[in-house]
């Protein structure tokens, strides 16, 4: 070992190659590490030394190494080819959850959650043209914006919302929407990150990752399912990343697994940083700044809860649960003109699914033995819109029990006396006249004051 010359390592090619592949370095590229190479080298050395001690000749040595190489390569190729199948088969890893007793939402039950058929009377916008308007929002000029599953943000023109255009193409699945003070449209784009679209349609990525958490083995820095956002008076954008386990299009599968991996994050436009504020919730979803801007509400879908996170005051930086054990799964939350808040229900709890949450083994076997189309889901064919007050008290609930117009509701936005209703699996935006609502109230004015 006096020095490295051009002949160092000559005739050791087979050994080196075998060491690399046996150690687990992929020939196809993409996977490998120094440790793997070292482990492979140790295996190869032990093997050759053993064979020499047993008195086998050089030829046998070469042959055994060759066979090892061939076997390792075969396994490497087969594994790479079938890895996704194995993962698919074992990926869903459900956990136990005992849901609390809930009040009934059945019509005639007399509870504040009681659903009715009012939403079925909503007018439709973009019926048949739209696919998957998860969130809807209106600007100061009354134009309507919504995302689609094709990765576009579509704008419908006031006053009749018949004509439309593609406002911006982002890709991914644009979900939550919010306007900032200067009129930029901020969107949580499923499977991509937090994006901003300026009034002249310039698309800009704000954030696609946060800091990796200290205890995670798998890198959880990337945002997999950014879901809804809202903007604080100081311009910071609070948003949720619903799950670390599934991408946006597989969002419903997260309910089967029910692992608490949802996060609440904040993006600071002043330095472009993204911070994780809260972690470990069961599908964080809608975010809404309270009317006074001192706290925000966020929904925890699979646990049927709404939490309040404090931005100011003695409880700064802490969250408290304000609504628990609802009969439906909450989605987006937005301000109402009367000082209350609108909350969308994307689906309803069913006794059989609640029971399955207490049987994680059963759900695990279900995902192994049945194709996905046959899996038991929460009932996301019925949703609704629920109004709640500052303290978390339920004011009223609207639904479409016929299921024809708005089976699943993922968002609603009040604007000038109407409620605009969106659904991630729906083919329309609904427009429902709210009786007794302030006909001049708009969300942009509520956030940023009258038109400058």
């Amino acid at each position: 070992m006096s020095g490295a010359g051009p002949g160092t390592g000559l005739n050791l090619e087979i050994m080196a190659l075998t060491a690399a592949v046996v150690g687990g370095v992929s020939l196809g590229g993409g996977r490998g590490s120094v440790i793997k190479g070292l482990m492979g080298a140790i295996i190869v050395l032990t093997m050759t030394n053993g064979l020499i001690r047993l008195g086998y000749g050089t030829g046998t040595n070469q042959m055994v190494l060759g066979i090892m190489l061939a076997v390792a390569v075969t396994i490497d190729i087969r594994w790479l080819k079938n890895r996704h199948k194995v993962l698919n088969e074992v990926y869903v890893a459900p956990v136990y959850l005992k849901m609390g007793e809930t009040q009934s939402a059945v019509p005639g039950s007399g509870t504040p959650y009681e659903l009715d058929n009012r939403l079925s009377a909503a007018d439709h916008i973009g019926l048949g043209e739209l696919e998957g308007p998860e969130d809807v929002i209106l600007d100061r000029d009354d134009h309507l914006y919504c995302g689609t599953r094709h990765g576009e943000i579509v704008r419908f023109f006031a006053p009749d919302y018949v004509k439309s255009e593609v406002f911006a193409h982002i890709g991914g699945f644009p979900l939550g929407l919010a306007f900032d003070k200067s009129g930029n449209l901020i969107s949580c784009v499923g499977a991509m990150g937090l994006y901003s679209v300026s009034p002249d349609r310039e698309v800009k990525r704000l954030s696609a990752e946060t800091a990796r958490s200290w205890t995670s083995i798998v890198d959880d820095a990337r945002l997999r399912d950014p879901n809804d956002c809202d903007i604080a008076p100081d311009g910071r954008i609070y948003f949720t990343d619903s799950t670390k386990r599934y991408d946006a299009h597989d969002w419903a599968l997260d309910s089967i697994e029910n692992r608490a991996t949802g996060r609440l994050l904040v993006y600071d436009p002043r330095d472009g940083s993204t911070k994780t504020l809260l972690d470990g919730y069961r599908y964080t979803n809608g975010v809404c700044m309270a009317h006074d801007g001192k706290s925000l509400f966020f929904a925890e879908s699979w646990a049927c809860r709404v939490h309040r996170y404090w931005l100011e005051g003695p409880k700064t930086g802490t969250a408290e649960c304000v609504i628990r054990d609802m009969p439906g799964y909450p989605d987006n939350i937005n301000r109402a003109s009367d000082g209350n808040y609108w909350m969308a229900w994307l689906g309803m709890r069913t006794p059989s699914f609640d029971l399955s949450l207490r049987h994680p083994d059963m759900r695990k076997r279900m995902t192994r033995r049945l194709p996905q189309d046959e899996w038991l889901f929460p009932n996301i064919n019925t949703g609704g819109v629920v109004k709640f007050n500052e303290k978390g008290g339920i004011v009223e609930a609207l639904g479409d029990l016929s299921g024809d117009a708005h089976p699943m509701v993922t968002s609603m936005r009040e604007h000038k006396g109407h409620l605009f209703v969106g659904g991630i699996l729906n083919n329309r935006v609904g427009r429902y006249k709210i009786s007794g609502a302030d006909p001049n109230w708009t969300s942009p004015a509520s956030y940023w004051g009258a038109k400058p």
């Binding site: 087969r78 079938n82 088969e89 939402a105 059945v106 659903l115 696919e131 998957g132 419903a252 309803m348 069913t350 006794p351 059989s352 699914f353 029971l355 399955s356 207490r358 049987h359 059963m362 076997r365 279900m366 192994r368 033995r369 049945l370 194709p371 996905q372 189309d373 046959e374 899996w375 038991l376 889901f377 929460p378 009932n379 996301i380 064919n381 019925t382 029990l401 299921g403 024809d404 089976p407 699943m408 699996l425 729906n426 083919n427 329309r428």
Partner: protein, 347 residues
């Protein structure tokens, strides 16, 4: 793949059901058929002296084209089966376990308490299907989810006398079709048709692996038969039947209407279970999605083999067919889950 035999040890066993293919190829003929009468949960159809009778709740109705159903007779408890003797006596079984022949109560052995079907052979022999020894007819779902197999087959000779047990340990016999001295029985929970020899009671399997739960059988004019299947087989339900703990907890804690179990009608309440494929997407409920209820009537030829079928698929409403009847060359279908009697025309 070469590693399959090794990997199989770690894999769960897939749950499978017979596909809807061949004679069971789906169509929408039940949804297209015009409604002959609106009736709440019509159960058993019967042709009696040129009239079409249907049982619904506690009453027997007479149905006619373009007229409201007329009540013929009411009973103290819901009707579970109807039959007409060769001499024209209306035979009615009740939920309470009683059997009335022309209004007179017939004496029954103590073992009979769940009469699901009645049929007279040409010689006047009365066949009786007792669905379960543990449950009433309306509790059929509990019998299935508890994997019940306590049903029995009985007969009474044309000369009268006592009922005699022909066979026991049947998994919910639900339909009867006399074939000479023998009888064809639909064994619901085992998805099959069995033929019992009238003299010896020996059994032979006629048709197995049905894609649904068979209900009643009725004769067709050409010597074949019509078979109504009241609910579809569903892989999630078959899976739950394998899951002892979950199933037991479900029976104990969940109201029966919201069980993961077959149903006569579904999608009526948001508390019912939903499967992934049944999610409404872009306004569409996929007709091929898994469903707890379905409408299915099968025509069997003289050898009791399926020829063709009529369907109401997952997105349809004419579900839960428990009985059909042929009258004057037209087929009438009672959709218990669709609250109507259909006129499917001639075949």
């Amino acid at each position: 793949m070469i590693l399959d035999p090794i990997l199989d040890m770690f894999r769960g066993k897939a749950v499978t059901i017979p596909p809807l293919d061949g004679a069971f190829r789906p169509n929408t003929r039940l949804d297209e058929a015009p409604a002959f009468a609106e009736l709440s949960e019509p159960d058993n159809l019967l042709v009696s002296g040129g009239r079409l009778l249907a049982s619904s709740g506690n009453a027997v109705y007479s149905l006619a084209a373009g007229a409201e159903p007329q009540v013929i007779e009411t009973f103290p408890s819901p009707i579970t089966a109807l039959a007409l003797s060769p001499s024209g006596e209306l035979t009615v079984a009740l939920e309470s376990g009683k059997l009335l022949i022309s209004g007179k109560e017939a004496s029954l052995p103590a073992d009979i308490s769940c009469i699901t079907a009645l049929a007279y052979a040409e010689d006047g022999t009365l066949w009786l299907a007792n669905g379960s020894a543990e449950h009433a007819p309306s509790q059929w779902a509990a019998d299935l989810m508890k994997k019940g197999a306590s049903g029995s087959l009985w007969k009474r000779d044309a000369t009268g006398g006592e009922f005699r047990k022909v066979a026991g340990a049947l998994a919910f016999p639900y339909g009867l079709h006399p074939l000479g001295g023998d009888v064809l029985v639909s064994e619901s929970w085992h998805h099959q048709l069995i033929r019992f020899d009238g003299a010896t009671g020996s059994r032979s399997t006629v048709l197995t692996h049905l894609p649904g739960y068979p209900a009643r059988l009725s004769p067709a004019a050409d010597g074949g038969a019509w078979l109504a299947l009241f609910a579809p087989r569903n892989r999630l339900i078959e899976f739950v039947l394998q899951e002892t703990h979950y199933r037991q907890d479900m029976i104990d804690q969940v109201p029966p209407a919201y069980w993961i179990a077959p149903a006569l009608a579904s999608n009526r309440s948001f508390l019912e279970p939903l499967q992934c494929g049944g999610i409404r997407t872009m306004g569409i409920h996929k007709p091929w999605s898994p469903s707890r209820s379905y409408g299915l009537v099968v025509r069997l030829d003289a050898k009791m083999q399926p020829q063709f079928s009529l369907h109401s698929r997952a997105n349809g409403t004419r579900h839960g067919i428990c009985s059909v009847a042929e009258k004057d060359g037209r087929l009438f279908i009672a959709a218990k889950g669709g609250d109507c009697v259909l006129d499917a025309g001639g075949f």
